[in-house]
Every structure is written in structure tokens, then in C-alpha cells.
Subunit: 324 residues, 2 copies
DNA sequence: TGAGTTTTCGCGCCCTTG
DNA sequence: CAAGGGCGCGAAAACTCA
């Protein structure tokens, strides 16, 4: 019973009719966890709460949720990053820019797109793997933006070193280039991330139709979970899970709603995973059913010693130049 | 079938005979299957790195640990977490401050490693590692300790910085340089994180030998994964997983080695989960096999929209109160 | 290229906890 | 009993290699 069904993509269409597995777990909880207003999609930020109760017939479990919201929040939607795949279309990050929009720090995001030529190569390489999430995440549509990021206060840099690919060692110089590129890219990511923080999953609009790993899985859900919790400040598992399930289900995805195929049960299970990791890092705290956003512990923050970093950057930069 | 086996505490003894679950994935295929030492915690084993090869018959599947990877990946042994060699092994978080002290932060495979004198220890490290500090510290008995966290957020931290040393990629010097630079950069982050790590669950003093959920599971592993990545700055899945597996395996826990019971496979699987969540949050980035610590994005910090959030929080809180 | 391996990790069964 | 979450099978993705 239950399981397997989900994979088929299209079932989404028939939403209600979905063969959804018995979701034992979900059932709308009764207790209304305090806070949240149920239902409402209040557009404005606050909204959200799990309220959507689904509860349908007792037996039925599909996803009745409603509302959805996505306001600000953080992290870049994973998927967005996708674009690279598009053949011609180019990496231009579509709406991506939006994410950043509101970020206070802003200043960044100019989607200009010129793009560093070299990077392209990297991209290509990555592209082939269609969608590894990682690649998607790291994909660098925006390398160019690096500069800007700099401005950003703290981006971080470390990364750069990334490397080549393939198991064998790549040739040196090639490697170097990669490294550099990688570095740049990463910077970008960082930025985005920050900015994006604002826009949350919204962007999913695009890309998303993947249905592939990039569009589902822990990686995908955890970002959303984090954003939701961050946004709400205090919430509950059910609230998060319900919203997430709802969002996903609703996900227009233009073409198809295959996505919704993902079973709620699965999403719910994943939410636990994501929350646990966040809890482990003390980014959120949970007491009973109440989940609180704690924020990032300072320790993890990246800017403390900015200056040091700055130095390093310069240093690096120098190297970069020399190499190139 | 399968599963459950591990839980029994002693199976360690009969290593080979373990009913080990079919480890499909792992299988040591030809390439030197390295296995961990299943059996007893051999105290002195030098092992450490993925190198341990024990190779068993091809068929055998026991804990084939893992890595075997080929060249490049071979990371040096890890660890850093030195000090806790103490025999008795108390879980008590020692001087937390120390842990990181000498960490060589080895990261990716540097075969040589001359620079750090200590490295030699690494070899032995296995022994000392016995209880990785991290694990000890982090062991979370605390699932509930929310309170602390709160305080944590800003705790402060003493940081000790570690000094890095080399890491190097074998070939190309250029690359090496980059790496070095990277390393430096990362140090910065690392530091923060490290500090944090220290205090993190300090309170755990007790507990650890739980074997219960507090001592295992995603929640437990993710903290460790995070700390490791933060510390190393740049690393790889295998490095992290191997270390983690090793630490856990070694974990003396005085009384029993029940812990080691945790199958490596499980740990490895969990590491993927943890890394994915961190990736989703842009705390780390992965490119190919290289995992980089990015640090926490500012967006998560609580200031920007703080006010907004704060408002909501209050609002919610109020509700909470009323409801409860 | 395609077959064969490995690495990742989706997914959800089912055992713990509350 | 329901919420929580350990755990690991099996399949997709990423690589290797001939």
C-alpha cells in the first residue's frame, strides 16, 4: 500500500485523486498550536501558519492546504539556481535578481550578465550532469556579480578552491583556472544567499519543474524549512510541514504539477530531518512542539574578523591575477 | 532482517560473523575495501585514515568501510581532535578549549604533511581519537536543552586558533598555493566555528553513553559534521564520514562499545543528510567532492529584518501565552 | 559511447517516545 | 495512540573505463 506511488510524475494532476498514501501521521492536529493564525494567507508577512488544516475526511489525506506564502525569507531557492541548464537561454538568472531585491545590503545584484567566459566551461561541465543539485547550487550564473559582492559586507570567501573535477588531477593551469573561477563563483553564491535570504522560495516558479533531485529531497526542503522558521520566529512542526506541503503541492510549475506528487508523508518526514539538523546547529530550538528561530550562533557567523578576511582576499586576489 | 543487528552491543566482537546487513552499496569490490576495524576497539590501531584496509573476502560485507577511494581522495587522517586520549575517557568536556588546538586541519589529502610536526600523531591519532572531543562535547544528551542555546547564541567564545598547516594537494604547486590560501581563509571561519563548537553542548558532560537517541541520529551527527567541516574549511565527504565513523566507533564510552555498534553505513548515510541541509542553507558548498565551509550567511543573522521578526515574535508570543 | 562502478540520497517502514 | 525520528534499501546520478 502506500508507498511507491509517488514517483510517477503526473499524478499530480489529479491531485485529489492522488493515490496518496495513507498519511498516517499527518492528520491535522488539533491542538492548534497557538500562535498561528490559521489559514490565512495573509499576504503580508505574517501569515503563514499551518493552519491549513487539512484534515479531510479522516481517511483522506491529501493535501488540503491552503495558503502559501512566501515572503521574504532567506536562502536562495535551490532551484533557481538552475538555470544554467538551459541551452541557449542562458544562465541568465531570470528572476533571480529578484530575490535580492529587498535586501538591505543590496547593492549587489546586478544581473548584468556578462559573464566570465571561462566560467562557462565550468558550467558546461556541470551542465552535463543535468542537475546535480550541488551543481545547481553552485552554478554560477552570476559570476559576474562578484564584484559586487565584495561590496557586500561579508561575503566570505573561502572557498575557492574548488577543484577540478574528475578524479584525476587536472592539469595545473587548468586547475588553477578552475580554482579561480570557483572562487568567484562561490563568492557569488554567498552573496546570493544572503540576499536571497529575502526572497525565499518564491522563485521556485521557474525552474522547478525538475522533479528530479534538485526539486525534491532534503536539500530542497530544508531550505524552505529554514526560511519558514526564520520568518516566523516561532512556529511548530505542523505549521511548517503543512505549509511546505501545501506550497509544494500548489506549486504551479507552469507545466505540470508533477511536483505535488511528492507525497506529503515524505515531506513531513523530511521536515523532521531538516529541523533536526537546524536544531543540532542551534539555529533553532524546539521545546515541546514549539520551534523557535534562534538565529545563527555567532560562532558560525562569518564576519567577525573581517579584516583578516579582507587581507586574505587581497592576497588571494593577487594570486588570482598572477595566475591568470 | 537486516537492520537491527547492530544494536546489540557486543557484536563488535564477532566482527566478521556479524549478521551484518547486506550492505549492498558498499561492497568491497576490488579496490581495496577498507574496513574499519570492526572488532574491538583496538586501541592502538593506527589506522585512521581511510586506509585501513582490511580487505576481506570479496564477499564479505561487513563493514566495509569505506573509503577506499582512490587517490585523490585520500585524506590524511584526520583529526585534530586530539587530546582526549585519556584512557578513561570521560566524556566530560574537558577543556573545551583545547580541542582544536593542534588541529592540523588537514584537509584534503596531503600526503606529506611535513610541516606539522604533530602530524605524526595523526597516525596514532586513532587512538587518541578515541573519543573525539567533538563527539563528546556534542553528544547530545541535550536534545532538550534549549535554554542553553539561547544563551549560546552569543556566547562568546574563546577562540583558540588553530594553526594550520599544510594541506596540500599533491601535485601542482600552484594548486597548493591556492589551497594554502584557501586554508587561511577558512581558518578564519573556522575559528569562529570552533569556538562555538566548544561550547556547544558543553553540558553534555554526562550522558553520552546513552546509545539512545541522544547519542545517535541525525541530530547528533549533524553537529559533528558541521564542526568538522567548519574546522577543516575544505574537506570531502569521505573525510568527514570517515572521521565521524571512526570517532564514533572508537568512542570508548567506558562501559561499552555499544556505540560502535552504529553501523558505519548508517553514519555515512546520515552525513549525507547533514551535508545536504548545510548546503541548502549555504553554510557549506560542495563542488564535486570538495566541501567547503562558507560560514553562515548573514541573512540568517538576526539583524536585518530583525525588527520585523521581532514584532512578529512578540505578537506570537503573546498568543502563546494566552493559549497556554 | 555504453557498460560497469561508486557516490548520493530519495523514501518510507517501523521502532521509540511522549 | 500519535508524534518523532532511526535506519537502510534500492534507485538515480556521477564517474570510470574500455
Amino acid at each position: 500500500m502506500t508507498s511507491s506511488v509517488f514517483n510517477s510524475d503526473n499524478n499530480a494532476a489529479m491531485v485529489s485523486s492522488l493515490p496518496s498514501p495513507p498519511i498516517s501521521n499527518r492528520q491535522s492536529t488539533n491542538k492548534t498550536p497557538a500562535f498561528m493564525l490559521d489559514q490565512a494567507p495573509s499576504p503580508s508577512s505574517k501569515c503563514c501558519n499551518r493552519s491549513l488544516v487539512s484534515d479531510i475526511g479522516s481517511t483522506n489525506e491529501l493535501r488540503p492546504l491552503l495558503y502559501q506564502q512566501q515572503d521574504e525569507c532567506c536562502l536562495p531557492p535551490i532551484q533557481n539556481v538552475v538555470f544554467l541548464n538551459t541551452p541557449t537561454s542562458s544562465p541568465s538568472p531570470p528572476p533571480s535578481s529578484c530575490y535580492y531585491s529587498s535586501s538591505p545590503s543590496s547593492s549587489i545584484e546586478s544581473p548584468s550578465t556578462p559573464s566570465a567566459s571561462d566560467e562557462e566551461d565550468l558550467l558546461n561541465s556541470s551542465i552535463r550532469r543535468k542537475g546535480s543539485i550541488a551543481s545547481l547550487l553552485n552554478s554560477d550564473p552570476e559570476l559576474k556579480q562578484l564584484d559586487e559582492e565584495e561590496s557586500r559586507c561579508n561575503y566570505q570567501s573561502h572557498f575557492f578552491d574548488n577543484i577540478p573535477m574528475k578524479r584525476g588531477r587536472p592539469s595545473t593551469e587548468a586547475h588553477i583556472d578552475n580554482v579561480v573561477v570557483a572562487y568567484k563563483k562561490q563568492r557569488i553564491n554567498t552573496l546570493d544567499c544572503e540576499k536571497q535570504a529575502c526572497q525565499s522560495s518564491v522563485s521556485n516558479t521557474m525552474a522547478s519543474n525538475e522533479t528530479t533531485r534538485a526539486a525534491k529531497g532534503l536539500r530542497h526542503f530544508s531550505k524552505q524549512v529554514c526560511d519558514k522558521v526564520a520568518k516566523k520566529g516561532i512556529t511548530t512542526y505542523n505549521e511548517v510541514a503543512d505549509e511546505l506541503a501545501f506550497d509544494i503541492q500548489q506549486h504551479p510549475t507552469v507545466d505540470g504539477q508533477q511536483k505535488q506528487a511528492y507525497d506529503q508523508k515524505n515531506i513531513r518526514r523530511r521536515v523532521y530531518d531538516a529541523l533536526n539538523v537546524l536544531m543540532a546547529m542551534n539555529i533553532i530550538a524546539k521545546d515541546k512542539k514549539v520551534i523557535k528561530w534562534l538565529g545563527i550562533p555567532d560562532c558560525y557567523r562569518r564576519n567577525n574578523e573581517n579584516q583578516n578576511r579582507a587581507e586574505l582576499l587581497n592576497l588571494i586576489r593577487v594570486e588570482e591575477v598572477s595566475h591568470i
